[in-house]
Amino acid sequence: MIKHIPILVQVALLSMAVLIPLLRGNKAAKSKGITVALLFISSVFLLILIRDVRDNGAFVYNFGNYESYIGIQYSVNIFSAFMSFFVITLALIIMIFSTKDIDHEISRQSISQYYTLVLILLFSMVGMIFTNDLFNMYVFMEILSLTSCAIISVKSKKENYLAALRYLVLNTIGSLSVLLGIALLYMVSGHLNMSLMGQSISLIWQLYPTNILIATGFMLVGFAIKAAVFPMHIWLPDAHSNAPTPSSALLSSLVVKIYVFAVYKILFDVLGKDIVVGLGIPGVIAVFAASGMLFGSIFAIGQKDIKRMLAYSSVAQIGYIFLGLSLMTEAGLAAGLFHVVSHGLMKTALFLSAGSIIYYRNKRDIRQLDGIGVEMPVTMVVFAIAAMGMIGIPGTNGFMSKLYLSFAVLGAGQPLLLGVILLSSYLNAVYYLPIIISAFLKEPKSKNITMQVEVLPWPMLLALVTVGILCLLTGFYPKLVMDIVTQAAKIFLSA
């Protein structure tokens, strides 16, 4: 039973996505209920899967009992089990928030369609995490890119159409270059299964170094476009800031991370550490990551729209994850994966609180936020916790991931990158601290405001408080996550 959990979760997500359009009566309310209940059940099942993998070890799941060289295979290990649990749980929190927020953002008819799209999006994300087959990964990736564009354009405004189209065009270029890379690797190895491909490439890579280098180049560029690594990030600010708030949170904290996992799989499962180092790839990744960390923050400083600022901040944070990846050490990989989790939590908290401000006061401009902490204390406390995490103030998960990353950088003997991390943290402070200061310390424009808890609908408050507590929890007890991601990093390096 337990070994079927990954596919059962996927089947449940997909079948509910198909069933939602067939509902009668109050479609919006029913689809919200179905989505939240289904995500809750899925996260419980994935928790059971994590326990099982921890106790009994990793296993592979062959579809239809075909041998791995001909059929599709899922690789279930501590990495894939934990990351899919993380994705589903964070999506659950975001969906609880969305039950009230989405009514304000999109028209009534498209609410049930929105949940269909979200369920298909989650289906493809879970698939991409578990799959051990390159072409299967490509198919899931295309489903993911179509649905992630669709949850932007579901808000029927012309800005959203344009943002979705630009995202789609760049996403497709990325997918095609990944597919070309897959073709080149298939050419030299004759397999599509990642483990088998890895075995044959480790034997023959010195015969076809050019082929493998070109393939890796195409694939890394493709994934870099999709994960918004610095010079390829141009689609991200429009897409993430125009989307409805729950979509922004999903896209920024989960979708871009899935492509990071794909890069992990390609570099370590398919190619292997020795070949990647032999081809000189880590240095290239480090340069792009470091420039993203600095320039993403510099662009964010100039933004006036709060969601646009958060979107640019994502560009910088993706740089941290790729910096951890580029070190090619166990500590570096674990720090990168830890930052995937902590940035997911922080960015969700930031987007949800920004969404609450827009919902409650209809303010998007950073300069209008004077004294908003008095009007909306809970929202702004959550915002402040997450923003402090972004800056790296002790007690938050952002501090822990920066600490782990700094130790990893020093352990790899590259102190220059430590300077980049510190400078980037300073730049984060430049644009996050003024918001906290003006929210809590400046006088509000209208004088007659008394301090009281804002009257947001309870699901929104529940989601905000939960994600804020999770930020602090992973900050005070980082071992909860770090132990798991260290094991995951060991799996990647031993493959």
């Binding site: 072409f135 490509y138 198919v139 295309e142 179509l146 564009c149 669709a150 354009s153 029927s156 012309k158 800005e159 159409y161 344009l162 979705a164 189209l165 789609l168 065009v169 497709t172 270029i173 095609l176 597919l179 070309l180 073709a183 298939y186 050419m187 599509l192």
Partner: protein, 127 residues
């Protein structure tokens, strides 16, 4: 020189695929007409499909239907062709979705030209 030409002719599929890929990418990046961008994407998709199918081709191979009568027969690798069938479905859905977005954009802005749309948007922002 002669060897080079023969080599070139033998790898015509790959060369054509790469040429199409570059043509498609050039079309996507340089044309401001959104419809032409979608056409460029389609050219890129075709090029990758051509490349993928060419990998599976075996010289003098027959179609991969097992014929028990003739032993030692060489077959073409059927896997890439099967994969590309899926790829074509994906390509069609992307084209359909992007065309529907373009229709909505045309209704909203009255033009399909990205430069004109951007000019309109910047005018709105200045007001």
């Amino acid at each position: 020189m002669n060897d080079f030409l023969i080599n070139l002719a033998n790898h015509m599929n790959y060369i054509a695929a790469i040429a199409l890929f570059v043509i498609g990418l050039y079309t996507v990046l340089t044309h401001s007409n959104l419809l032409k961008k979608v056409i460029g994407i389609n050219i890129m998709e075709t090029s990758v499909f051509l490349f993928f199918v060419s990998i599976g081709f075996v010289n003098d191979g027959s179609s991969p239907i097992i014929d028990l009568g003739s032993l030692g027969k060489i077959y073409v690798n059927p896997v890439p062709s099967a994969l590309i069938l899926t790829g074509i479905v994906v390509a069609v859905s992307i084209t359909a979705y992007s065309l529907s977005l373009i229709i909505r954009l045309y209704k909203a802005y009255g033009t399909m030209d990205l430069d004109e749309i951007m000019a309109m948007r910047s005018e709105v922002n200045h007001d």
